[in-house]
Symmetry: C2
Subunit: 348 residues, 2 copies
């Protein structure tokens, strides 16, 4: 007896091959009762669907044909505050998302949710009527709650460290590793007294990854003089200069470019006697060394994740959320000694 195929099995059951295919794949287009009947018959006949063949066929069928295969929704959750920095960050993510989505044959639409935008109920119905199933959530201040969406219809990725309501896959920069790599690089360039300044609120939402990496690495790099991190609710000029004069770090890491002026006011020459590295390139204007979070890459990765799940027909909240990260890249600048020739090595 030859191995059964979709078509032979369909003939036996008096259904079309399409219905069989959809039923075995669990498509909502087929009535639940029919799905049961088909699955039982398939099992009896010893028919097993080949998921690899299915995936390939799906790809094939999808990609040719039209220009676009679907639409992704990018959700921007706006609360009461809404800084210019966050806007730059989000725009930069969007650029990566749009570009990668376009490569993979998807279009992107942006929706604003929250205080000044749509309610979740309204969004739910809009997405439903438009048939949009893939969601990318831009970073939101605080800990957003999106449990009210009908998640069984969607597959989503959050572009920040974590989200608990509901727990979704996340894509974010790897702050821990970036800090480790940066300290290694500074060490290789001869710096021995690295100092960190940080507003607590900035590190808190990262679960203190900046400081955690800094503290751990201080202990294990050779010949390091330990400079305690300056962590405050708010970094002021006075607090900074007191700290700077007391510990005299040879390289300062922090978010605020103003610190360069404060250092110079204390008599520091950049990069001759001291160095400064800004921890977020979006805060600078090209006048200092800084870390580039490569947000377009992050956006691209988020796209790949969502689209991958769409292609596998996986919807709903994942059973175990995962976190995908990309390390930041060091951008050279006039506030940092160049790498010694030969010792030059890209940050890991």
């Amino acid at each position: 007896m030859p191995t059964p195929t979709l078509r032979t099995l369909a003939k036996e059951l008096g259904l079309s091959r399409t219905t069989l295919s959809d039923a075995l794949r669990g498509s909502p287009r087929v009535k639940a009762e029919t799905v049961e009947r088909v699955r039982a018959a398939a099992k009896a006949a010893g028919y097993e669907r080949n998921p690899l063949t299915g995936a390939v066929m799906s790809q094939l069928r999808r990609s040719r044909g039209q220009q676009f295969r679907g639409v992704l929704a990018v959700l921007e959750i706006v609360g009461d505050s809404h800084t210019a920095l966050a806007a730059r960050y989000n725009d930069s993510l969007m650029a990566g998302i749009s570009s990668r989505a376009n490569d993979l044959g998807f279009k992107v639409e942006r929706f604003v949710v929250g205080a000044q935008g749509l309610t979740l109920q309204r969004l739910d119905t809009i997405l439903h009527t438009r048939g949009i199933q893939g969601l990318i959530l831009l970073p939101a201040v605080g800990f957003p709650d999106l449990t009210e969406l009908s998640w069984s219809r969607y597959t989503a990725v959050y572009a920040d460290y974590f989200i608990d309501h509901p727990p979704l896959h996340c894509v974010c920069s790897d702050h821990y590793r970036s800090m480790i790599a940066l300290l290694h690089e500074l060490h290789a360039r001869g710096y021995r007294r690295p100092g960190l300044i940080m507003e607590i609120s900035l590190d808190e939402r990262l679960q203190f990854r900046w400081e955690g990496a800094f503290l751990a690495q201080q202990k294990y790099l050779a010949d390091i003089t330990v400079v305690p991190a300056l962590q405050l609710r708010e970094i002021t000029r006075e607090a900074f200069q007191a700290w700077f004069r007391k510990y005299n770090p040879d390289v300062v890491l922090g978010h605020f470019p103003e610190a360069m002026d404060w250092m110079r006011a204390c008599g520091a020459k950049l990069p001759k006697t001291h160095a400064f590295v800004c921890l977020n390139s979006l805060r600078t204007s090209g006048d200092c060394a800084t870390l580039d979070f490569q947000t377009p890459l992050l956006g691209g990765r988020a796209c790949e994740l969502v689209i991958g799940q769409l292609l596998h027909n996986e919807f709903g909240v994942p059973s175990q959320p995962s976190l995908t990260t990309i390390p930041a890249r060091l951008i050279e600048g006039p506030t940092l000694r160049a790498a010694k020739a030969g010792a030059a090595k890209a940050a890991r």
Copy 2:
């Protein structure tokens, strides 16, 4: 302009789709000159053939559908040492890999590389002749170098924190977040003097993520009494007991279950007066609270990554490697007070 297909391209060239297909695959059925012409035209039109699609179609035609699966190679890189623990870890990863691969229509084959196994050159030819393109690398001791494989043919994922030769996507447990979540949970259960014991070599390959998270969290949890971490090349009974007596931590976190006996020898009652949490469930035998790395899930995620890239026809070393992580899960045990009713909350 729609993406070209075999048929449209064939019409343009005035040839049949069969000839195109054969030519692109380099079949001897087609005249060499025609092959050249076809390949040039395909390149000009931006047509790229997908080898996985080809393989699936081929097997489909040849063997009447069923029983065809794609193949992934799992590489085990064995150096001189080879502990039982590593073997358990790898087997557990394998279980997750096999299961997820099977769901997605792939088979898995395991290859041993290194000192007691295949040379890289030999592996390269084996993979080539077998037509295997997807690779999953199991964790190796030290920092393995696999640059000698012909990477343009493969797409791969490394199941550990990082690999630099070459830089590949990685999948690994999220030690930093696991530690943060664990400390939060312990804090919620009333523990205020957490202590960490760690062999330096174990944390070093994690870039000190255990200790980094521990140090950072000690600073920012409320009402914590700081107990310095016991970090040694080797943890001995004497060193441990001296540390334990001096600082009297109310909960000890570490890799070695022997520590429980040492604590008891100092008069501690588990879980009445003190608690112990093992940081790696594979080291325990069910007699204490511990962290489960959920290795099968990690393996599954690695599969999804590799297969996703195969389906998208993406080979070679990625331009920017990413790291995908999953947090560990706390397993309750008789060495830890239960969560207070109401305050119970799954670890993030």
